[in-house]
Symmetry: C3
Subunit: 215 residues, 3 copies
Amino acid sequence: MKNKPLVIIGGGGHAAALLEVLLLQGRDVIAVVAPEITAGKELFKGIEHLKSDDAILNFYPSEIQLVNGIGAMPYSCLRTKIHLEFKGLSYDFATVIANSANVSANATISEGVQILSNATICIGCKIGFGTIINTSASIDHDCEIAAFCHIAPGVIMSGQVRVNESVHIGTGAKIINGIQIGKNTIIGVGANIFKTLPDSSIAYGARPFIKLEGK
Amino acid sequence: MKNKPLVIIGGGGHAAALLEVLLLQGRDVIAVVAPEITAGKELFKGIEHLKSDDAILNFYPSEIQLVNGIGAMPYSCLRTKIHLEFKGLSYDFATVIANSANVSANATISEGVQILSNATICIGCKIGFGTIINTSASIDHDCEIAAFCHIAPGVIMSGQVRVNESVHIGTGAKIINGIQIGKNTIIGVGANIFKTLPDSSIAYGARPFIKLEGK
Amino acid sequence: MKNKPLVIIGGGGHAAALLEVLLLQGRDVIAVVAPEITAGKELFKGIEHLKSDDAILNFYPSEIQLVNGIGAMPYSCLRTKIHLEFKGLSYDFATVIANSANVSANATISEGVQILSNATICIGCKIGFGTIINTSASIDHDCEIAAFCHIAPGVIMSGQVRVNESVHIGTGAKIINGIQIGKNTIIGVGANIFKTLPDSSIAYGARPFIKLEGK
């Protein structure tokens, strides 16, 4: 199954980062589906460019795997919508793990998970369907992260944290051990989380104090 | 000496993370001493399980090395107590360094130090007896960290920081260059440290601002 | 050109860290120029020690490459001054990339850039002349960082950030995607940056709350 040809959905920076990983691993990427290619143009050259999601239906679900190259942003559901729509049509999503990621052989990585450069996932972790563990994020032992989450670059999670579905943890946020994060919750850039957060809450990190020139 | 059989003290998440490193390196782990195995059960299978610390005394100090698998928590002395008690009985503690850690050949790593996955230790550093440099922590050039410290996951230390004995630096805390941290001090999750801290002080990082659903 | 002998300017901790990288890569370091060697003395042993910058003029610009080993500190121009002075005299500066750094083959790394241990630079990034990407810093896809910047240890930058000339980003600061940072701006330790910053501004991160013993 691992050697099925791949079709990437999305043509922005996240898609390009995934494509780079896949090409380094010798995977066969046969098409990109996106209205426009806005990043990694050199890499996408030579790969068939389809402009509408409907073009995916021309591939049999059993003959390819999809790669969800839509970036995850807070308050945006597009990435999850793509996952659910095509999963409902029996398509599978490839799991993408960068060569420089450090992933324990004793972690459980679900279908469609994307683990970017220099990210670390320790023993006993479980990462759910379609979740992104972004560049240099570090997930310590026995953490459980549910489906459709985005763990942004440089997030640090100590051991035994439990993150429910559709959570966005922003750039460089830190979470101590044993904390639970409710579903649909958003954690802002650099927030220091030391208490459990309920569903659909927002945790803002500290604002910087800005001093302008001459003031 | 490096090839002596190993006995791990502790059966929780930290012990399991160390066991994973040691098995990958082909080390001979002959027993685990813990009231209960609570993490990494698959890995501990097949390793003799002794339930009381007294069982360690059945091994000659010259014939094994101990691995202190007790996790380090602020306000808890159990880990240090184990180190001192068995060192006093002439047992040695193995130094454990994960394969994915980046440790300078020009750093000095003491007995019993534990360096976890993706941690980085630069040129000129000195790390003291029994100290943990946890997952993805980064210790820059010429830092000196004394014995019995816990540098939690994702801590960032710039160059020439001096950390005295029994200090706990919490998840993702950051310390600028040249700072001194007094003994027994506790630094909280994500705290930004830019001034020297005296002995037995506590530095709390910024709290997040939490907005609950519908509020 | 890559195999030209190297002359390091500076004899402190940053110079020693660079020397360690270069020696591991089998580079021929023929001299260090510094009033005094204050770090990495073991490594500098056997390398000719010249005490004045003027001694550099005894080497033909075409026959060597310089390595700028002056550390970057906020409010100090010494490092940039060295770069400009010797570039004006037709000397080239070597680009130094640590073995443990993760640098995309699809990033553009200018002359004289220094990328330290465990730093990560993703697809589509452009790093300008003489800039330091320090230990464990993580620069996500499509960031552009201009000349003479210092990205301190553990800085986390999400995608498509644009950093103008001579910016200092302090230890462990975090920047969300798409932000612009004006030239000569200083970002303090651990600051959470989620808005564009104008030229010559200063962004201080949150101060910790310190509790002294017995208080």
